[in-house]
Subunit: 385 residues, 4 copies
């Protein structure tokens, strides 16, 4: 029997965390063969060099696709996507996969979808059916309409994809692979890891014996002009709280230069003695850091997903995670220094959050592999009603 060739396209550092255990499960599945394409900002040193982590994790990369156009504006985002369509069309033409996986809702993921759908290759969309604001919202649902098989992360998401006119046979709730890693982290008690020794980072030397915060704040694509101002709000709040903090640089996006500039400006001028800045960590390390932290601050979806499972308090800023199904670990605030400070203080005083299982039980990678092995692969569909 021929194995099904499943081609996954990873275009950014955070997408890798959302698919890693599925990639492993595909690799190990007797009926599947993994083809791995690493593209976009996942290849760039400026954005954390995800490609090196992927290689270190033992994956063989079939193709690398350079497609990120420089330019601090939405035009560059659009053109990056156009370039991605052209490049990925070649890649799929050459790899001849039986199905292509596009992940979630980053702007460039629609390039994967078009390149596959237009070549009549069955398209699998991971993590459709969720709700956010921004261009991601448009991209995610457009991916759903281009895709043939939907492997969603929650029941809520499954209902929504079906309402979008998709055939329920092809909408499967596998949970989110990011939870698999979270489960593993939750289950590990003897993890020996010093983030500063291992990753260096720049900025203050932190004494974390009395607890610490983690910050991860990305620009919002529909207000990228205020990205610099937005990050300054948070920097001020964290600086004033004077709690030791691990701060992570944003991933590539129109506006990420605004965020980066804001951080650089603040460092040069205020030299905050309680913050240390990091480019990236391996997912496991990052989650252990989170697990032991007092609170995650920012607008990363990690706060909604992994932190809900692990039970880490989250102060979620702005509209980037709008209407994403969240647990009771999350409190939402505006881009406002005082609000942010107050929310953090309240959160860190709460103890004993329960872990919730909104995005799966921690075996999503395997469920995705099973779905890919056993569902009929189709490349055409019509809307259900």
């Amino acid at each position: 029997m021929n194995k099904r060739k499943i081609c996954a396209v990873v275009t950014a550092r955070p997408s890798y965390s959302r698919i890693k255990t599925a990639l492993k499960a595909i690799q190990e599945h007797p009926k599947l063969e993994l083809q791995l394409v690493v593209a976009g900002s996942a290849l760039l040193g400026r954005y954390g060099n995800a490609v090196k982590v992927i290689e270190k994790d033992g994956f063989t990369i079939n193709e690398k696709v350079f497609m990120v156009l420089e330019g601090e504006n939405p035009t560059a985002m659009a053109k990056t996507t156009g370039l991605g369509v052209m490049e990925l069309s070649n890649v799929f033409y050459n790899l001849k996969p039986d199905a292509v996986i596009t992940i979630a809702d980053r702007f460039e993921t629609i390039a994967t979808s078009i390149a596959a759908a237009y070549q009549n290759i069955p398209l699998v969309h991971i993590q459709g059916g969720e709700v956010t604001g921004n261009i991601d919202e448009k991209v995610r649902h457009a991916n759903t309409k281009l895709a043939d098989l939907h492997l969603v992360a929650s029941e809520d998401a499954r209902d929504r994809v079906i309402k979008l006119g998709e055939d329920p046979t092809y909408v499967i709730n596998t949970g989110c692979p990011s939870i698999d890693i979270a489960k593993e982290v939750l289950d590990t008690n003897d993890y020996n890891f010093n983030p500063i020794e291992k990753y260096g980072g720049v900025g203050a030397n932190l004494d974390i014996s009395n607890g610490y915060l983690v910050v991860m704040q990305h620009p919002e694509t529909n207000r990228y002009e205020s990205a610099r101002e937005d990050v300054l709000c948070t920097l001020k709040a964290i600086h004033e709280l004077n709690i030791p903090t691990f701060w992570f640089w944003p991933n590539v996006d129109a506006g990420s230069d605004g965020t980066s500039n804001g951080i650089r400006y603040y460092r040069e001028n205020f030299n905050p003695e309680n913050i240390r800045f990091f480019k990236n960590m391996e997912p496991n390390d990052f989650l252990h850091l989170l697990k032991n932290s007092d609170c995650l601050v920012g607008n990363s979806s990690v706060g909604i997903r992994e932190c809900s499972f692990i039970g880490v308090p989250t102060v979620n800023i702005g509209t980037r995670q709008n209407r994403r199904k969240r647990g009771k670990n999350v409190v939402d605030v505006d881009y406002d220094t005082n609000e942010i400070k107050k929310a953090i203080q309240e959160r860190i005083s709460q103890k004993g959050l329960l872990s919730e299982h909104i995005y799966g039980e921690g075996n999503s990678g395997k469920q995705i592999a099973e779905a890919l092995a056993n569902t009929a692969l189709i490349a055409h569909k019509t809307i259900m009603y």
Copy 2:
């Protein structure tokens, strides 16, 4: 008061007929300014040089975008689309429109949608919410999910767009502008027009005093390998019926070379003495030709829309128009010579078809202009439920 700058992108000959009266109405509207981009196959002689018709109709073209990649396969379709994203991103960056119009569901229309949506320009989608088979089906609904304002052509379509999670405020049934031209044609009784004198064409000299057929058959994108065979079925049926026939070449698509080859092969080898072949006609001329014909044969959407309004019998072949709302003028058949012959014979014996108004009353162009002038222009949205 500044006029709203409305940028319409016409990428193919048939799309122009679907938007022409709206373009006129936008041009004449006191609150609107038209920006016209002509792109893709609309610029190419091989596909009927729609650009010349557009210029002859008195429109000023702001930008011409060459983006069609040669190659008889879906890879070229995908790459054409990627190229379109890149080129149109530039165009919108320079023209700075207040809204962009993307038309219907041809594969390259998603390029317009991405280039606008990613640059936060309000996107207007014309003729969403319909149902067909093929890649068009995926593209149409993906366009809907990328668009902010939906100007649909029927009530049926409006319901479907709303079910797709769009805000009813932004889903307006304007009818289809192609019906405006159909209405004008229906209302004109003294049209003096000899198609062979005006357009030449190649092939047989037709005596049409006892009636004639019109054929328009495109490749189906999800079975482009059989495009040649498919068109040969119809050629054989028409040849055997021996009724004078005006036959139109297909528009650009993966597989159009298959259709073209089939036609060329049949002509060289069988020299059918009842068929004359044409590349293109101006929409008005084409509709008068249809109006006076006994039957339209093939798989063009003209049979579903305009012919329903004018009351012309239509033999619709294959799945290209699947589930598109149709009137009682249409009969559906398979790619089968005998079925096609039989259906044509039955159809032409029926007389006195009533005109139906499924796709508008004949004033859609104006309704579209009004909607564009008076609806709030937004560039962000979230799914309704």
Copy 3:
């Protein structure tokens, strides 16, 4: 010892004839490994589907690169080249050749040169140092300045490349591989081949028992607006002479639609009873056809090279072959029906042309392979004086 990986990029039908025996020799050379990329119009049915001939000749194609942009103008030529740079950059990045071969002077060949040179891959240019008119002239010499190793086809060409500032160590006269095929054809006396049976073609049924002509006329890129008119001159001349004629369609270029339209128009309206039209023939068949013909007419370089070696009279029209070193088999005429007629009549009355060896002795393929195996491969250079 590792074999040197030599990557040749074939972008068009005529380029293949100019490299075929070298490809074979590389394939068979103990120190070399062939990587073959087929790109551009060589992949397109409209332009003779060179790719099928290449596969039939037993070559394995490593990558196919679709890059031809449709559009009857120089803008499309430029953009095709830009697209070629992008696509071929990927290809070389993945194939990691030790050297890349770019062939001659077609507009898109500079894409190969840039993609290789910018990635510090030693670039080998075949057939530099010649002189023509048109954009080819600029492209050829620009290729020379981007290339590291020059395998030229004549002493005349070698002198010119050295005058261009190249190091004589890296300028080697290997002769032209097209002559290798010509030699083989000249040496074969029992070739059994009926062109009409084998290739079909369209148009008149020819009786060639009393001799025949071969016509091959391409558009000139710097006067592509007159391509239609130019080909009509020749069509009229050939029609009036009423000598049986094999006519070959042009290869892809800005203006090729002009030539194609001219041919189609003439056929529809004058139905010349002495001309049969062909898309393409395998090189061997084509040369046997030439060898037995009375005269080659048009502006193909075949008239200058192969026909000089085989000894076939050639009527060369226009400036496309300007200043290319030619033998006494060639007479030059303008785009003028009467001049063309007169020149053909004079030529076919001459018999017993001697074969001349201007472009090699018929062993160029092997000489190219030897040069590739034994010359130092460098990727940087400075101008000599």
Copy 4:
């Protein structure tokens, strides 16, 4: 009389200095109309935002072209160039210039050349005929072979372009516009300018009352892997000399991330108390800074050109300026900390360097405008011998 439309394409910060006075002179010339295209890294904040300087200087920009692909490798350089060809083809198609100017030899300048030459637009090359190492060397001479009119910066360069087979009528020594600015600076004695107040920069607070150095070091494209190591050599040398130093960040290139990383690493770890780092300065400010400095160190062509005219000692490191005609102000050294230190110490002890006029008299901008106004504009040529 219609003015000649002259379209100049500026793709990088340093190119702007090399063309600025010519742009002014074209703008003011009664027979010329300037069209200005700003592209590539000239648009990017990371590389000094040349576009803002250009706008501040009062120029109207006709088109902005985003074309820089991210990725720290030569593949990204090649693809940036391919993208440039595609984008600039559109730009010229729309602007319809009578001539296009391509500047010098940066890798992406060949995109301008191809986009113009392939569309039969007369191409003017500024600063051909010089000699360096690297990919620049190949690009410069390839630009010469694509160009129709050559406005060179020295007699030496003129001779070389003519040897390359160009018609002497179209090879004009106008000198280099960068010298015009240098002359102006040399002639100004009351310039009041505090670089730290005006530009900020980051790093040490410098006391420059006893003299200072200026450093500008770019990666070499053919040894970009060692860019980090190369810059560390110089950082160490400058740090050890402990002379106050203005250090400028590199411009975009494969390998510029290596250089940037090296600088960042050195700052974080050694915090050199005698160096202040700057992104960019306006050309006038920069030249005044140079004029009053003790020595320029690095591999910028400014050391060869402007510093020769102004009379500033220059320590030129590595092979980037190989064989460029230099004055007696320049001493060449290897990437070797001790060599660099020794050369700087020797240079700064010498006083009273004479100004030399190798690259013009300081009126090149006007000479370029005159040449553009009065030379025949051709778009085709053949090699001279």
